[in-house]
Symmetry: C2
Subunit: 330 residues, 2 copies
DNA sequence: ACCTCCTAGGAAAGCGGTTTCCAAGTCTGC
DNA sequence: GCAGACTTGGAAACCGCTTTCCTAGGAGGT
């Protein structure tokens, strides 16, 4: 590899001058030398060694994003939002996927700390296990002690800047909207009990029904993905309306009903949560709670990069979107 | 930040010993000292500075993946495959998205070169512009000259290891299958003419029809995404069967037809390409050409990491999957 | 006992940059 | 024409870690 020293030698200048010309500096360099250096760099095909720059400058230009699963469009949208924001700041992005293993998340924080990334974004639901959360907090604290910045999209459980979707309220509004259509017997495809996002959405829904004086819904737990929705739908009893705690599960549920000849929304109404863009052409169109995922990702990055000393928590409201997957009861 | 020197001092050993204990080495360290070092590191919350390690070792443990658009499930699947493979090798991943701008791709190669990443994966279609391709090749050559490894998922236009989906053959087989159902009047929602993947799929389809002695299809160009498919579908004439060069476009086309009251497959048959998993619950189920995207991503990483000196090109066959979005003509 | 060979530990030289600190030269203003 | 203030270029320290090279001590062989 060609180094800055090679360039300096070829241009007949000192290392310092070459560095100032090529890699930015407050200092001026005379036009003649500048030209010589630039030509030398070009001839030699010089590329600065960023590891060396990072070491010397004591600051890196990369950020880390940790998501649960990139192939889940929910995370893809959040990550994309954050990555666009990062790109406008001239930052590079390291992406880690945990495949929903909280231990992996902790490990990634450690690794990203070792990389001395400028900021790390933890994207995705927290889990309800205090031991795991505690260890993650410790790891984050260690990172922050070294000057690292962190933010989270999910729940405010880590003591860092957080973009928190209003899962409870969104689910509650959805419940009221569905109740407003005349439904009274509900089921919730609730996802895993330990996933806070799933639990919050479920709880918000259940509470709203209670406030409305409606019977408690049947709550069916299972995986948080398409197949989880598919499986859970098969266990739903005589509900007229089924709430899957995310869109991907809802699509699984719709598939299950379709296979069994249950018509949606005629026989049963189905609603999801998130308003995943890739699914907007689904038939029947999914009633859901829209979350501005890209904005949330971008906002999380802003927060992480920002100076705010006390961790800020931003609630993001969801918007109920009624579409054809639900019907009015007559 | 806590440095290795801090740890060494606290443990009362030399830097060398601390390094050997904490960051791996061929050399043995006595149990007593080892324990002291580990305890000191733990007490101080030491995390190795990877920038420094990279510099000292002259080799990094990160790879770069450049994709067009992470929110497109096609790229998400490919990237996920590659990332899983990377994880098993203990490699970290930097992801760059070009948003379909070839200049961005070139810029990323330069940046990843500067990062001295172990390998870079260029995921996604090449463009038919020789000037752009030439500049990208130059940048890759510069990277490889410094010992960098590269691979591509797409077309063999870069002189690097390549995983090449058999777009022409896949499209041709699809054409024969559709013709076998009795269709004779086709339209192709062909995507952008300069995108090689789109062009290949279109060409393979057109050629196969020609070989079958069928009339040439109507070819409609447009963007390579959902909205492109939507728009293009609106311009299709009296074809009984429409081939969208990727699934996402096909879904857009289906949406357009649905809105216009055109029934699929009764009034028109629609086929796509890729077999995107997220779309497998679409109604009507999409006829398509299945590509093993995750495997392709993983394979590309293997190739990039492998030693093979002459660049290897691996064709990946697609498999025609007939589903309900097409009908047999009677 | 004595010599050789191996081993564990430490000193120090890089890795490729950035940046401080100097020195020399160039402009000002009077 | 000269002191003083700016510029510009270079030497060298330093960023945090790895690794080579050296040394001293211990094990093993005879």
């Amino acid at each position: 590899m060609v180094t800055l020293e090679d360039v300096a030698r070829q241009a007949g200048v000192s290392l310092a001058t070459a560095s100032r010309v090529l890699n930015g500096s407050t200092r001026q360099v005379g036009a003649a030398l500048r030209a010589r250096v630039e030509q030398a760099a070009d001839e030699l095909g010089y590329r600065a060694n960023i590891a060396a720059q990072t070491l010397a400058r004591g600051a890196s230009n990369v950020i880390g994003i940790v998501v649960h699963d990139l192939t889940d469009p929910y995370f893809a949208a959040l990550a994309d939002g954050a990555m666009r924001a990062a790109a406008t700041e001239g930052l590079l992005v390291m992406v880690g996927t945990t495949h929903r293993d909280p231990e992996q998340e902790i490990a990634y924080v450690a690794t990203l700390n070792a990389q001395r990334v400028r900021a790390v974004l933890l994207v995705g639901s927290r889990v309800a296990d205090p031991a795991v959360t505690g260890r993650l907090r410790d790891e984050l604290a260690r990172y922050q002690a070294g000057g690292g910045r962190a933010a989270c999209v999910g729940q405010d459980l880590l003591g860092v800047d957080t973009v928190a979707p209003a899962n409870r309220q969104g689910a509650a509004e959805l419940a009221r909207a569905l109740a407003g259509l005349g439904h009274t017997r509900f089921a919730v495809l609730a996802g895993p009990p330990h996933l806070v996002t799933a639990a919050d959405r479920c709880a918000g829904f259940v509470e709203a029904l209670e406030e409305l004086g409606l019977p408690a819904p049947q709550v069916i737990h299972g995986p948080f993905d398409r197949d989880g929705g598919y499986a859970a739908a098969s266990q739903a009893g005589d509900a007229t309306c089924v709430f899957a705690v995310n869109d991907v599960m809802a699509v699984g549920a719709l598939a299950a009903y379709r296979e069994r000849g249950v018509r949606v929304p005629d026989d049963v109404s189905v609603a999801g949560f998130d308003d995943i863009v890739t699914l907007r052409d689904h038939v029947p169109a999914l009633t859901t709670v829209r979350l501005p995922l890209k904005d949330m990702g971008a906002r999380a990055l802003e927060l992480a990069l920002g100076e705010g000393d006390p961790a800020v928590v931003e609630q993001v409201a969801g918007e109920v979107v009624l579409r054809e997957s639900v019907r009015r009861m007559t």
